[in-house]
């Protein structure tokens, strides 16, 4: 995939006056001539100094531009303007920040790393911490009497969220005379056995309860027709 895309970029760059790349003259003389190549995401731009807008790029230069774009395309969300100077010095402006040097193959600027799609341990740790926080809050609420008024908590009938069967929703619930989602059943239990006030669909408490129930029941065998 990657090599195909590289080839595509290369081919596009190599074709002088290519249709899909943005090409415009920035200076009238050769001394100050530049040629601009825009990547398919319209967020990565390479400005090649010393080449006229209507001039065909030498193959080596075209390959260099393709490689650079390919590198930058790994950081999909950032808006990057790159300049290749006549002396081959490459500088980058990331999301409008001042230009800084970039050496292909070396550590990329930190502004790019933060947004890169190649997520690392740290990212996964953050996501897990965020998920755990929500599930933990759901666990607390599920075992607490604070969402009801009569002392009763969800876990009293549903230890480890057993017998909640989130996988069976949505379904027509005769007693409600409508299609019920899991949150509708949660609200039913809050209003009836717990004698509490129903939660809005986007209430953080509802989100937490759903997160806890779904997490607890992940991987539990579903028995069709039984529930």
């Amino acid at each position: 995939m990657r090599s195909l895309r590289a080839l595509f970029v290369f081919a596009a760059v190599a074709a002088a006056g290519g249709v899909w790349v943005g090409v415009r003259a920035e200076a009238p003389t050769d001394e100050w001539a530049t040629r601009t190549v825009t990547a398919c995401d319209h967020r990565k731009v390479v400005v090649i100094e010393g080449v006229r807008a209507d001039e065909k790029l030498p193959p080596a230069k075209a390959q260099q531009v393709a490689d650079l774009l390919q590198d930058l395309m790994r950081y999909c969300n950032a808006e990057v303007k790159a300049r290749i100077a006549k002396n081959e010095l490459i500088t980058l402006s990331i999301n409008g920040l001042p230009y800084q040097q970039y050496v292909p193959g070396m550590e990329p600027p930190i502004e790019l790393v933060r947004g890169k799609s190649d997520y690392g341990e740290r990212d996964r740790a953050i996501w897990k911490a965020e998920l755990d926080k929500l599930v933990k809050e759901g666990d607390r609420l599920f075992h607490s009497d604070e969402i009801g008024t009569n002392g009763i908590a969800c876990a009293m009938c549903h230890p480890h969220a057993s017998n909640t069967h989130p996988e069976t929703y949505p379904k027509y619930q005769i007693e409600m005379k409508q299609i019920a989602l899991l949150r509708d059943m949660v609200n039913w239990c809050i209003e009836n056995p717990l004698e509490g006030k129903k939660l809005a669909d986007d209430d953080p408490k509802m989100r937490a309860l759903e997160a806890y129930i779904l997490t607890q029941r992940t991987g539990v065998k579903m028995e069709s027709g039984k529930h």
Partner: protein, 376 residues
Amino acid sequence: MPKYLTPKELERELRERSPESERLIRSLANCDRRHFLKVSAKFAAMAAAATVIQPHAFQLVNVAYAADAPGAAPDVAFRFAYISDSHLFSRGMTHRFAKAALKAVEDVNRLDPQPDFVLYGGDLAQLGRADELELGQQILKDLKAPVRMMVGEHDWYLDMGKKWTEMFGADHYSFDHKGVHFVTLNSVVEKDFWTAKGYTPEERMNIVAGLDDGRQSRFEVGEAQRDWLKQDLAKVDKKTPLVVFSHSPLYKYYEPWNFWTDDAEQVQALLFPFKSVTVVHGHTHQLLTNKIKNISFHGVLSTAWPWPYAPTGLPALTLQMDRPDPFDQFDGCGDGTFDMLKIGQLNANYNFWDRNPQSVTYKQIVAGIKGGGPSY
């Protein structure tokens, strides 16, 4: 012209006709009004089919306690009732759990003749508070038959049984009744998990009250009570029928929910030498049947809420009750009775409030009930 019979004659007439009618009559023994209406309709239809009586005439006849007619169950020596796991909050008589406990008291008081005694199966309170236990005492004091109390973990871990024992006496004791030796145990002893962690009594109670709270220890009878039991049983003839009351099942069903007694094997070993042994336990809030060697085990219903069967470990003998209807507070809950058979074994009668009553007889246990599950 059909012959008009007195209620007693009618009972006898119908009982002789088929096992189906026998079952119907017996099911009338402790039914509530809703169930009575259901059964009496069936009864009327049956009577009409048998041309003993006209259907409309039948409705005037009070047959509700037919099962207790003399000779109705010649193999039964005596009967005791149970109420269990009421989990009362200190929120007065109008709280839904208090109302459910009152309903059970009414059921038992309606039994005619009255049971010889009523076992209270433990977990009278939800959080071990004095006002919860007092509310429970107030509800149970209306029972006409004498009450035998058993302690549950919800009664114990706020003050380590101080209030409960003040109110109801020893947490373990034995008594003899009509040739049967009864033993009540405190099977919810937990190893100290709270001191090291510095939990307050309230925190300790809340942790134990959470069925799925893994911070607590496992239930056990403990060495002290096992020694006491050994001495108590030493005085009893091995042919004497033995019935043991424990809050938790005296076997290992599902550890994460303390459907479990950690020293079950050691307690069972003390019971194996006896000819006929039955264990009646609370805590699991579900119809539950097991047999280990010569010991039969019956779990009893809760008045407060039913529990799903655990994901693993369900004894094969258990014929699972259907999943309770979440839209019906009383479904899957109830109370019940035990018939002490003259052979020294027990038949369990589950009086489900909003579904048909169900019996698990000693005969069925020996024959092997085809159970299944778990389903939850």
